[in-house]
Structures are given as C-alpha cells and as structure tokens.
Assembly symmetry: C2
Homo-oligomer: 505 residues x 2
C-alpha cells in the first residue's frame, strides 16, 4: 500500500529537519513537536507573511504578553467555566479519551462536540463504545478543564494557568492599547505567541498539539460606526462560503462569492469581519494554497463559542486529512471587554465626541501558525519521477538557493564557496552543498523546497558564469556571477520569471 | 529628588508602548511584563541582530522545542536536584523572600548565592534579618525548586515542568541535529524561545522576571579537535576580563585584552568559548553599548553551575543598576550529553574516522533577550534640553522614520500620507503623525528613538522636496522625494551619514 501524504510528509520532515515528535530519546510524549532548522525558518517566514498581511496599518499594534496568567483572568473571561471537553476514562487501563473524538472515529460523524453533552453521552452508550486501547468498558464521560494549571511563586500561593489563546491579554490590555493608539477607534492589538492546551488525547500529528503558536488580532470598533475604511483593498477577493443557513440544511457545497457581495447579502454581518476574511484568503493564497482548496464554514449557534455572534472557520483541503481549520473569524461583540470590566471593576468604556460612552465591539481573526505551516507544506507536495518535491512559494521557501560545485576538486569547491558567501552577504538565504553526486544534491534541494540551485563547473573558472536550475520545471539557464544576487532577488520577489534569469541551456 | 534612570525609563516605556507591568487591571502580578508595539518591534530587531551575529554559519542549526517538558528530562539534567534557591518565609505574614537577596540588600554584599547554604543561614542569623514587609522574624531558610510545575494531560498523570532555559532541548535533540548537520562535528543547535523561572520574590523590573525570552546556542565539538575555524573573524575584538584568579583576589579592575590574546594567556580555556565571547562583545556593541561599558566576569568554582568547567558572565554597566549580566558563556564539557545518555539509555557518542567513539563537548553562549533589550534602551537614553531622547542605533530602532505634515490643512496631510505610503511600500518602517504641533511630534519621535523625521511643508507641494531632521543632532537637510527611500535606506544601513542625505538648511 502506498504511503498517504501525512505519512510521507512526516518522513520528509524528520529527514530534512522540518519537525519531529519531541522527547524521542525518552520514548516520546504525545502532543509535542520540535521544529528543526528548515522548519524554524519556514515557520518564521510564514509568521512574517502574516504580519505583512494583517498588521500593515499603523493603528494595528503588536503586543507580547505572558503565557502564564493568574486565575482571576480566566475566571472573568469564562474559561474556567467553559474551556472544558468531555473525557471518557477506561474502567480498566485508566486511559482517558476525548468522548467526541471516539464517537467521530467510530461513526464517521463530524463535529460531535457541537452536539452537546447529552448527545455525546447518548451516542457513547448507543454505540457501546469501548476503550480503543484495551477493549474494556468506559466510564460515564465527565467535563474536564483543558488548561495547564500551575502555581505562581516558588513557595506556592497563587493559582495560574497557561493561556489557551492570546486574546485575553489583548482584552486586559485594552486601555493601554487605546492610549498608544492615541485614544482613537478603530484600533487593533495583535499578538504572535505560544499557547498551551492540555488535550485529553492529542491526535493527527501537528494539527492537534499541546503547545502551539497563535497569530491573533483583536480589532476594537464603535458599533455606531461599524465601517471598515480598508474594505476596498479586498472587496473583490473571492470567497467560498458555507453559511449558517447552509449548515442547518446540511448543504456542504459552498457559495462562490466575494467579500463585497457577501456583505451585501448579509452573509457576513460586520464589515470588519468581511475585511479580515478577505485578507485571510489572500494570506493563505500567498502561501501557495489555491482558492479552490479554501473555504469559510460558519459555525452553527450550538457550535459557536459563548462569546461569538458569528464565526467562520477558514478551512484548507489537505490530502489525507480533508478540510482542516487554519483560522477562526469571530465577531466577539462587547462580550470580552464587559467580562473583564465586571471581573476587574475597571472602566472599559470609551468616550464618544457626543459625550456618550460605549464598550467597543471586537472582531477577531485567529490563526494556528502550526496548522498554517502544515497546510503550506502539504499543499506544496509533488511526487515527480519518484522524487519528493516541495513546491513552496519562492517568497516563503526556507532556503532560497542551493550552491553546488560540480565536482569536489580542481578549485570548484573554493569557487562555489565564494559564490555562496556572495549570496549570503547580500542577504539571501543560500546553502552550500558538496555531499554526494550533483543528482543527489538536486534531489535534496527539491525535497527541502529550495527554488533555485546554482552549480559551479569548469566553465565557471574561465567565464564566471553559473548554471541555474529551477526546482519546478528542472530546466536550466546560464547566468553571469556578476548579476547573480540581483537576478535571484528579483526572481524571489516574483518580479522576474525563471527564463529571465539567463540564457537557456 | 530627580528620578533615577530606571524610573524615567519605566515612565517612557508606559507612555510610548515599550513595556509595562502585566495584569494592571487586576492589581498586577509581580514578575510579569507585557511588551507594547514599540517594544515588540525593538525586541524583534534585537533578536534578528542576534541571529545574524550568532547563526551566520551554515552548521549552526536553529530549532524550536516545547516549553513544557516531562519530569524525566529535568531529572536527568540535574535540574530537579539543583534548580533551587534558599527561601525565607515570614513567621507572621507568610511572605517568602529569597534569602541571598535579603542579605545583599541589608549588607551590600554581592553574589551571596555563590557563598552556599551554610553562609546564607549564618548571615541571616548574624544580621538578625526580619521580614521586610511586616518586621516579624523569619523562619530558617529552605531550598525550594524554582520551576513551574504542572500536569501533562487534562486528566492528569504525568508531571511536567516549564523549562527554565532552552539548553536541555538542544541536548535531547542532539542526535537529530547531528543527522541534519550531515553527521559532522562541529555543529551547533540554537534556539530563541520563552522560558519560565518561578522566582521566589521577583525584583528590579524587567531584569528578573518569571517569564522571558532566551537566545541560546549549544556548540558541539570533539575535544580531540578543539579548534574553532572561525576564530580569525573576532581575533582582535577587545575584551575586558575579570578572571577567576582576579575574582579570588577580589580584584575588580578588568584586564584589557583581545580574543586572541586571552586564549594565548589561557584566560579562556577553549577556542570556541573565546570565539563566542568575541561575537558577544561585537553583538552588544552593535546595539549601541560602548566597549567601556562591557566586561566579562568569571565565575568562581563555588558560583559555577554544576556542569561548567569555565563560565564568564557578559555584563553591561547600566546607570542606576550597575553591572548587569546579559549573557553567560559556559564550557559545559560532556556533562549534559552524558547526563541524558544515562537518563535515556540512548547512545550520545559519535564515531570518529579512526573508529573510536566520543561524547562531544559543549560550549554555550546564552542571552536573556529581555535584559539585552533593557541594556540597549538604558544605554540609549539621553536627556537634552528637558527632552527624553532614545539614541537607539539606527539599524535596530523600532520605527525608522516619522512622517509629518507641517500643518493639517491645504493638502499637506494628503501629501504626507502619500510619502508615508511610499516609504512603507519600499519596506521601511515609517509612522505617520499629525497630532499636535510639529515640535510636539519631534519630541514624541525622539522619545520613541526614531532616527529620522520627514516633514512635508508648503514647498513640498511645489518642488517635491521634504525636510529631514536628525534625532541625534537636531540638524536638518532638504531632500527630493524621488530619492527619499533610497537615501533613507543607505543611512539606516550606515552606508551614509546624515549630511549626505540632502542640502543643509
């Protein structure tokens, strides 16, 4: 049986240093992954692409807040009450499982969590669900808090929790943000940082882990002035929507629309959310995922978080996994600021010019960076002539150019190292490789997603030209070293095509 | 009484959005800080400067590993046994204090921790130390573990700890790193990430917090081949050293030497450590700290961590705080890999060409990013004509240029916004400001450390030239918009001086 894509990708990831399960030497610990050099670079490039899409306007302010929060924050936010999942423990081996996932795996049903506790209990009983590990009966499921708990202070005293999302730190710092935004609405606080979720039973590799990076933005606006001044930037962006009504009718064929048209038809209820959904679509497309593999799926009222008036998940179709959530777009109204106003007794209103006061409303786009990373990788995969190729967009590829000497003698390695240093010194991310045959080195570069290979041969020594080879077409051109860095840069910025880089070979 | 620099900087930090104490609306929580937009940008620029100094060679591989580790990792590493501090609890109010810090504050002694437990107990008794909060007697001090403890898995089971440093994840991933480094020594694993230390009683603002970012590198080498091939890059870098011998003689006047000379005199015992100390000096100098405010202080054997054969702290002199550690340089030998070899029963040796096997040795440069950030900020401070100015190096300043319309009418704001967009679109980090008088806007830009201000006036409308104003000299030149982005970039890269940017005014 041929391997499926997730399995193939895990092998490539270990071999090339993209990611691997953490704590391998200690037998592993489920829900934890470690990124290697290639993965760290790709992840950072995606993070920076997010920043350039989502924080390009001046009144979008980035912050960095702590991971551990005192309990009072999550009491006010509602997390202590609501951030819970149904867990079923085995009566014999004691292993715990997420009840909704057990049902999904057995029945093929989707989104069982949204059905609520009674349905989960009924379905477990109806299907006579047993422990997947040892086959023994399961106990009645109970709701458990899925946050990491700790004590702040080495001698104990104050209970703290690791944040399961970054949003609360934006809400509790709303007043500081408002001050730094010159006391004007709309403005946003954005954050890229680690969050932790104490999953009952992690599964599906990097898509459900206990520690991951979130890229989150909270846009604060006055509900009396709900217009988004930047809407025209993305008005014509295409969107595939599965609306709440369609979800209720179990109709899974998306409407093809645009940002502007979805607003006109009231399929998206706020301009701000429509704007960020457009930016979201553009961002994921920028990472190489074609529009036909993207869709926005509305949450049913029962599925929606307690704070949200409208939620769309941005989903990407991944081979071997199906439609996978990479972002959530939620209209959180004034729920969160009011919750912290109540919890802290601090004023969260702002004063309008007419003298009235209002608690701002919030629209939130929230990305799981690790899932965006995986969606980018999995979409880039191509199998060609028995080789693995990652066709990563050239403006996010972790290594931009590989530099090879044709053979490792006669001064070719020295010349190749000079060319490598030249590229590095102009800010390009180039890697030198002289291990094994040139064919093997091309294969390695293809599997690492490196868009260009630069080969130094005997002709280079006499005429200072090199061979450039395109990862995506395997075609080659010949170019002078003197113009190499400049031409590579314009290619990587999508200002030139490969055939513009030199003379065809 | 005039404010001291730390106090002034905290005020600037809150006003401009550099940093502030976390959880303000809930009354605060000591040991936690939040970075604002300006701080996040400056911190990221410093992180990238670290990367360009420390990871520029190809066999230095970056990784990103989880924060929460299963207990077994820290049992093997020795942290469960050793990552402890003496805590004294008040008999009446129950508050806990770090015993060595109490003694330091009362007696003016330095580095009391290094004197050991018996001395700490004796000094507490000798000085009749009382609770600083309520004046009651203190209990006998006890050693407490200063790591955050939690349970991995929502239904409990496995004990986990937040990492207090990133190094262990480099050691436990040594074999994967070796594979990705093409099975050749030397190579390094590097990591930038969050760590947590459950301080007994945090103090001195951002310098001792419970959550911070570490920038750490573990260089693995064969002790039979201890040479560093890159040594010549920094051989002549000046170093101020307080050696172990000088520490024993209580001689605090550093020797002025160089990397090469310190090695020759055996003041630094490995080439790798000398190399990284040279890079360290260069990195901190790059951030604007002059060499005379930097020194490397050796640890006495009693002060040295259990794993280290030689340790130098890189210290920066900060007004109001004195000499403050920003980095540690440790020769960790084969201690850590052997510890995890014992703990995991996995082979940590590598095979030499002659068939023998060896556990590699390790040299580690480790930076506290938040302290480097503070050292950069505090060093940059200048008070001039009753104004606060942050003379941040122009290649790390969070905002590179401010753009102002002279007045907010007659089309000047629109023209200024065009110029602002032009700069943004060429990749510059520019900010538009039209609030208040131009004088107030200059003052705001100075306090935010923005090196250049670009002012659009009535002449701009007719001749497309603008006024550029230098933060450091308050002098002005006139330059054409057509060449603005290019000239600004060469200035920010230190390829031009301010007077090269236009015609003097």
């Amino acid at each position: 049986m041929p391997k499926d894509l997730p399995e193939t990708m895990n092998e490539i990831a270990k071999r090339r240093g993209l990611y691997w399960p953490s704590y391998e030497i200690y037998g592993g610990q489920s829900g934890y992954y470690t990124y290697g050099d290639l993965g760290t670079k790709l992840k950072r490039n995606i993070e920076n692409a997010w920043r350039s899409h989502f924080t390009r306007h001046q009144n979008i302010l980035e912050i960095e807040a702590p991971i551990i929060n005192p309990e009072i924050v999550f009491e006010a936010s509602g997390h202590i009450a609501n951030f819970r999942e149904y867990s079923s423990e085995c009566t014999k081996c004691g292993t715990s499982f997420r009840a909704d996932h057990l049902i999904e795996e057995k029945t093929g049903l989707e989104n069982v969590e949204a059905m609520g506790g009674d349905a989960i209990k009924r379905l477990l009983a109806e299907h006579g669900m047993k422990c997947p590990r040892c086959g023994s009966p399961l106990k009645e499921p109970t709701l458990v808090l899925t946050m990491f708990k700790t004590e702040i202070g080495a001698t104990g005293g104050i209970t703290g929790y690791a944040r399961p999302e970054a949003a609360q730190s934006m809400f509790i710092n709303f007043r500081r943000g408002y001050q730094h935004a010159r006391e004007k609405l709309p403005f946003a606080l954005a954050q890229v940082g680690k969050v932790m979720r104490n999953e009952i039973s992690p599964r599906r590799g990097l898509t459900r882990v206990r520690e991951f990076t979130i890229m989150e933005l909270e846009l604060f606006f006055d509900p009396q002035y709900p217009g988004c001044p930047w809407l025209s930037e993305v008005a014509e962006e295409p969107l595939s929507l599965i609306t709440e009504t369609m979800m209720e009718e179990e109709n899974n064929t998306p409407i093809q629309t645009t940002v502007a048209s979805a607003l006109q038809q009231n399929l998206i209820i706020t301009e701000w959310q429509a704007y960020f959904m457009g930016v979201s679509q553009r961002f994921i497309t920028h990472l190489g995922v074609p529009p036909e593999r993207q869709r926005f799926r509305a949450h049913l009222p029962a599925e929606r978080a307690h704070y949200s008036a409208q939620t769309y998940d941005h989903e990407v179709e991944i081979e071997g996994w199906g439609w996978t959530e990479v972002a959530g777009h939620a209209y959180r109204t004034d729920y969160d600021l009011k919750a912290h106003q109540d919890g802290s007794a601090q004023d969260m209103t702002i004063l309008r010019e007419d003298g009235t006061r209002v608690v701002p409303h919030v629209v939130e786009p929230s990305f799981g960076l690790d899932r965006v990373f995986l969606a980018t990788l999995m979409t880039s995969y191509e199998r060609r002539k028995k080789r693995n190729i990652l066709r990563l967009p050239r403006n996010v590829a972790p290594i931009q150019a590989a530099v090879f000497p044709l053979v490792t003698k006669d001064g070719l390695p020295e010349k190749a190292q000079q060319v490598h240093r030249l590229l590095i010194d102009t800010g390009l991310n180039a890697q030198y490789d002289d291990g094994g045959s040139v064919g093997r080195r091309y294969a390695r570069a293809d599997e690492a997603g490196t868009p260009l290979a630069v080969t130094i041969d005997y002709d280079t020594l006499s005429d200072d030209t090199v061979t450039l080879r395109d990862r995506d077409t395997w075609t080659q051109v010949r170019a002078p070293i003197s113009q190499l860095a400049e031409r590579l840069k314009s290619y990587l910025r999508h200002e030139a095509e490969f055939t513009d880089l030199g003379t065809p070979l």
